[in-house]
Structure formats: C-alpha cells, structure tokens
C-alpha cells in the first residue's frame, strides 16, 4: 500500500488549491495555483572557475493567470529566502547572513510578471521584475519547455514548464566576494500550476 502514499498528499493539496481558487473567474483568463511539489528555483554559481555549486529555495507560493486566447498573463510568486538549501549547513547559514541574502532584513523575494511571450499556444518567455534585497530589477525568464496536461491525481489541468535566466546579483546590491564569487548566477525554474 505504501506505493500510494503520495495520493492522499496530492488530494489534500488539490483540496487546498480548490479552497484558494475562487477569487478569479473572468471570461478568458484561467487562474492556476502553484503546485509547490513541482515548483522550485534552483540557482547555479561557478565556484573558483572549477565546479558549479547549486542550491534551492524550498518554500514558495504564488498564483499564475493565463489567457491563451489573448496571449496575456500574470505571475506573482513569493519565495521564502530562509528556505535556501545547498545540503551544506554552514554554507546555507553564510548565504542567509548579511554577506548575501540577509534574510532577517529581507525575508522574501518576489517575482511579478505581466509580460508574456507565446509561441503558438505555449508560453515561451515571461518578462517581469524580481524584488530581492529590497531592490526591484527587470528579469526575463525563457521557457525551455512548456506544456499543459490533465493531471490524474488532481483531476485538473496542470500547466507548467522549465524556465531559466541568468541574473547579475550586483544589480540587487549583492557584491560580497566579487569577482572570485561570480556576479552571474543562473536560475533554473521548474514550475507547475493547477487550474482553478
């Protein structure tokens, strides 16, 4: 029976998604609530020009609206910066401290977007702003894949994809360790969201 342990969890998530869902019911716009089990931001930073260190933000929430007929949309995602996770506790603590994300002063980062590019019916890029360390800067996420499907667990449509971008952390005032710790940070984003 343990094979099906995932199903109740997914059903509970679907129920939460249902409760959260009835705020938007406009003509063409479909609202999707993030599936936190398939939505992650992973970052990649080159370490001394040798190897790539990776980390992840584990807690996030948000909402996506898409009108595939009008080719418009809206995204609002908030990331809990204290949920950073590299697998190395001292590294996590350093990243949470004043040298990097200063999570006591800036506990969240927020990505808001209303610029959507489509390739046919598929989202190909999203233009918005990333607010981090109290500074707002433009960011464009490019889709390396995008798809919608009927999810058998939620019994709902799920849309999602893989997105990526490279940001210069100095634009948000993050300058510790430059240039040994590089300015360019690659963000790799998995996202799936459940139709409401």
């Amino acid at each position: 029976m343990k094979k099906f342990a995932l199903v109740p969890v997914l059903a509970a998530l679907a129920a939460v998604a249902t409760l959260a869902g009835f705020s938007t019911a406009q003509a063409q716009t479909t609202t999707y609530t993030l599936d936190p089990t398939h939505t992650f931001v992973t970052w990649e930073a080159l370490h001394f020009g040798t190897s790539t260190s990776r980390g992840r933000f584990d807690k996030k929430e948000g909402k996506i609206e898409i009108d595939r007929a009008a080719k418009t949309g809206k995204i609002d995602i908030t990331i809990d910066m204290a949920s950073i996770n590299t697998g190395v506790a001292p590294f996590d603590n350093h990243l949470k401290g004043k040298d990097f994300f200063d999570v006591t002063t800036h506990p969240t980062a927020r990505f808001q977007a209303s610029g959507f590019s489509f390739d046919g019916t598929k989202v190909s890029a999203v233009q918005g702003t990333l607010t981090m360390l109290g500074k707002m800067q433009p960011v464009e996420l490019k889709a390396s894949r995008f798809n919608c499907y009927d999810n058998p667990f939620f019994k709902r449509e799920v849309c999602g994809g893989d997105f990526e971008t490279t940001i210069q952390r100095s634009l948000w005032g993050s300058t510790y360790g430059l240039p040994g710790i590089p300015d360019n940070i690659r963000l790799v984003v998995q996202v799936e969201a459940i139709k409401q």
Partner: protein, 202 residues
C-alpha cells in the same frame, strides 16, 4: 671528471615538479563541493530535480600518462528534493531502494584527457545492485592551489554529466509519465594536500 651517477636523480627528487613524476596523484573528494544533482522529466512538462550526496571517494590521476582511477560512493538515502514526503517516496523499493541498497557506486579507470585536463571517464555505475557502463563527460575541469585552509592543497574538479535509463536498474515506478532518462549533473572537487615547503607561492 666523472659525475656521480646518483646526482641527477637526487636533483630531480628535490626539484622535479609533479607533472614529471611518473606516479599518480591522489585526491580526496571535498564533501562540501561533491554532489550529484539529477533531472527527470515530469509528464513531459517540467523537470524534477533532486540532490544526492555528498559523494565520497578517491581519485588517482596521472595526467602525463593519461590515466586515472576513480572510486566513488554516495548514500542514496541522502536524497533531497525540498519535500520530505517526496524524498521518503523516492527512497522506497521501486525507486532508490535505499534500505536494500544504501549506496550507489561509480568506479572508472578509462580516462581521456584533453590538453592535460580530464575530458571523459568511462566506468561502471552500480545502483540497486545492478552494474552497468556509464560515461561521464566533463563540461568544465580546472585545478587551483588553495592557500586559504590551514593545510595547503591542490584542488582539481569540475562539472561532469551523464545519463542513465532508470528502468535498466529496475527503478520503474511512474514510467512512462515520469521519464526514464535520468540526467546526472555531478559537481566534484578533490583535494591533494601539499606541504608548504614544496610549493612556490604563485
């Protein structure tokens, strides 16, 4: 005048750099910088990522001879995706099988070098008790002198990439909705301690 025959050898012993020595150098993996990230496609829509590690092991390299030997192990129960219940599901018998087979291994002795740098390594990956050939390709590779630690060390490492078909190892849950191809992104840095007197400050 005759030169004592031993003298050139003595001079070489004092002065010759490691590159000239016909002897492999041993590196111990740095657990802070040695991790496996995996990627699997979910419903042909988005990429599930997870981390396993740190990777433990030893690497012997002889760049001059173009040879090497790597023996690595990783505890699959260390899997971390950011979701506790998902990690627990992954550890079960039809996926990582972490209880029956706590460790996965990679052993490789077939190295290729390009301009003195490790380019590919071919060996055998053992997971869930199944051993199959696996090639890892270096996306980047570099060595540096680490002067920051109490013990000076030469650090060599890079990013390596490989791919396994999980069905070949018997990890079949969720096929085909969750992809069969598992992309492995391996960060690795190995350290070789160097006594201070043997190294010139760059």
């Amino acid at each position: 005048m005759k030169m004592p025959p031993m003298l050139p050898l003595v001079i070489c012993g004092l002065l010759c750099t490691s590159a000239v020595r016909a002897q492999p150098l041993q590196y111990v993996l740095d657990p802070d910088r040695s991790w496996v990230h995996f990627e699997v496609l979910h419903f042909n829509t988005s990429t599930i990522r997870g981390r396993i590690g740190p990777v433990n092991g030893l690497v012997l390299l002889d760049a001059a001879a173009g040879s090497g030997d790597v023996r690595l192990a990783v505890r699959t129960g260390s899997v971390s995706t950011g979701l506790g219940f998902f990690d627990a599901r992954l550890r079960q018998d039809d996926l990582l099988a972490s209880e029956a087979f706590p460790e996965a291994y990679f052993v490789a002795t077939r190295f290729t070098f390009s301009q003195g740098r490790v380019a590919t390594l071919r060996g055998e990956f053992t997971w869930r008790g199944v051993s199959l050939p696996l090639e890892l390709t270096a996306l980047r590779y570099a060595c540096r002198l680490d002067d920051s630690a109490a013990l000076r060390a030469e650090v060599c490492g890079g990013d390596f990439e490989g791919e396994v078909l999980r069905s070949e190892y018997g990890a079949s849950f969720g096929l085909p909705l969750v992809g069969n191809r598992v992309r492995l992104l391996v960060q690795v840095e190995g350290r070789r301690p160097i006594a201070g007197s043997q190294v010139k400050t760059p």
